[in-house]
Symmetry: C2
Subunit: 366 residues, 2 copies
């Protein structure tokens, strides 16, 4: 079992990573939460493949379970789902000692985390991420959210889980496109502060997503450790943690432009590349690093042009720019960017000339 | 100016109490939040009497203001209001440095506090309570909430304001019934740990709500100081803070039975008396203290029987008891009660015999 500590002032917790981890989860619950109900929130895909496998382990230990499933996809990160789940769970009888499990990908994790933070003013929750994206990124660090009509993740809380259990086996049923989308976040971690990791990813490009146990454990544990280090330094995203948003100011605007009909990771892939190009255009990064990144994403079959996200959409740089200005990370009307001094060296920059941002966007329309 | 510190591990803040305080609020904003917008949330009553008076002070200092009003009453503590406000505020362009003001009574304070805690994962907010109930109780301490269909305040967060500004002048336009309802919370504070304060209230009963400046300042500052002490000891309501719920397990059930069509304070008045009677029935309090309290509430023209809340409702003890069991304070199926060893001496008690609770409720039906 790989065990990684998220060290925080309060509410420190562990990430447990291992193939076939379900039985350990039930054991953990039985040990630490005797007589407390397990409230499981999942989506329809995970329900189909894994819910019974998980609940069987809980039932075998006589743990009371209430399970609820939401529709797949970003549309479930809404006030409507939040209200509906809250009312159902309250009606069924929850108390402050029960445990809520987020059993699914980023959508389920963000929604369930938010719900847990507001129901009875806060109930403990545990993440069981089932997608690559949620295993390497969104399940760790305590950001919870739903979407506003005007942008992604604009409503939510900082609320840390009590534990995170990751089972790479769940990736075996994940569609290839979702696996790829999650891989964009893996690349992000290498860009932030680890050129060696980027080179390793580049070298093993063909094997990275083959789910060879050794490789996938290295990928997940490397990303989670990186996230743990950053969250420890800056839980509430006052500064350092913003580095984790590399590519995301672009990505959120692109997702919004396409009404969230693409995968988050697909937008992140292009967002990373756009951030690198912006860094180059501003004189921070070398063109060689941009090319290295572009080739890596391309050979990974990830989007590198706006038309790769949608070739039907009429892309307009001014619309994308406008969306970027409603981002949470915007500051007094200015967009705050995470830029790169090349692969493995990110930094925060305010007050960037909007005409250069616009020009950069336009390079991806062609 | 009366200045009371709420001392917390993080996010300590001050309560400022004074007649004619609006100009001080604008000065405070200008001093500490230069270039940040003031987003004011209020209700229709407060809008009618005071909104312009407040915004004039902000405008005079060139502070940008966005003001929104919600309908009066508990119905505004809903997911619907929350979503509608969030979308409007985001659309208008909010950033993490702006300040949200809760300008109104308990409903506005609870809703606005909750909204502030979740919009962009948390934006600073300031309370300007305008009713007696919110000035002595709900604006201080960082509990925020909306109501579930199944009970009051079941969804919310702990989120401390950056400051609280109290102007007793706003009480002059408060309907007598609302003033009385707020007074029930004042009585609560005396019951919790201050028999001397109870005796003072009893002695000055005729003057308490006449809004004589000296008296009303004493009443508000005494209650706020008491709340400050308790919140300091136990911000997240693990134990001591539960004492502030004296009478509230009954009160929330009664309000829910009447679909929130009565004032919270009216339910609290009866809730306090029921808690004292339950304490007597369980052998903790003397009948003399029950009689003292009953006489005080009666002479204050506050409810002392269920029929005083509604003489149309067919009150059934089993229904009230059932509602009490979905309260947040219930623990593993049992109701957790705050009881009194007489006036000025409260304590927490779990696992009370439900038949005695039921019998106690029945004494108030007759």
């Amino acid at each position: 079992m790989v065990k990684i500590k998220i060290n925080l002032k309060y509410n420190s917790y562990y990430i447990y990573l291992q193939h076939n981890i379900f039985d350990d989860i039930a054991t953990f619950h039985k040990k630490y939460y005797t007589d407390c109900k397990a409230i499981i929130i999942t989506d329809q895909n995970v329900k189909k493949y894994y819910l019974k496998k998980l609940t069987d382990r809980f039932s075998a230990k006589n743990i009371t379970i209430n399970a609820y499933s939401v529709l797949n996809g970003e549309k479930s990160k809404s006030f409507k789902s939040l209200e509906s789940l809250a009312e159902k769970i309250i009606k069924k009888g929850i108390n402050r000692n029960d445990i809520i499990y987020a059993f699914g990908g980023g959508v389920v994790g963000d929604l369930t985390g938010f719900l847990s933070s507001i129901i009875l003013r806060g109930v403990k929750f545990i993440q069981i991420p089932t997608t690559l994206l949620s295993q390497v990124d969104s399940s760790v660090g305590g950001k919870t959210a739903i979407n506003s009509k005007l942008g992604k993740n604009l409503i939510g809380t900082f609320f840390q889980p009590a534990a995170v259990f990751i089972d790479p086996n769940t990736l075996s049923t994940l569609p290839r496109k979702d696996l790829l989308a999650g891989y964009a976040e893996v690349v992000k971690y290498s860009l932030i502060n680890d050129r060696v990791f980027f080179n390793w990813l580049n070298k093993h490009n063909k094997d990275n997503l083959s789910l060879v146990p050794k490789n996938i454990l290295k990928i997940i544990s490397t990303c989670v450790k990186k996230k743990a280090e950053i969250v420890k330094l800056d839980e509430k995203e006052k500064k350092t943690r913003m580095l984790l948003n590399l590519g995301h100011t672009f990505a959120h605007a692109l997702e919004n432009e396409l009404n969230y009909k693409i995968r988050h990771g697909e937008a992140v892939s292009l967002g990373l590349l756009m951030a690198m190009k912006l860094s180059y255009n501003l004189g921070y990064a070398k063109i060689n690093d941009f090319n290295l990144l572009e080739n890596h994403l391309k050979s990974s079959k990830l989007p590198i042009k706006l038309k790769d996200l949608s070739n039907k959409k009429k892309w307009l740089s001014k619309n994308i720019l406008k969306k970027m200005q409603t981002d949470k990370k915007s500051y007094k009307g200015n967009i705050r960017f995470i830029l790169c001094k090349g692969i493995g060296a990110t930094f925060i920059k305010n007050n960037i000339d909007k005409t250069i941002v616009k020009k950069t966007i336009e390079e991806f329309i062609i």
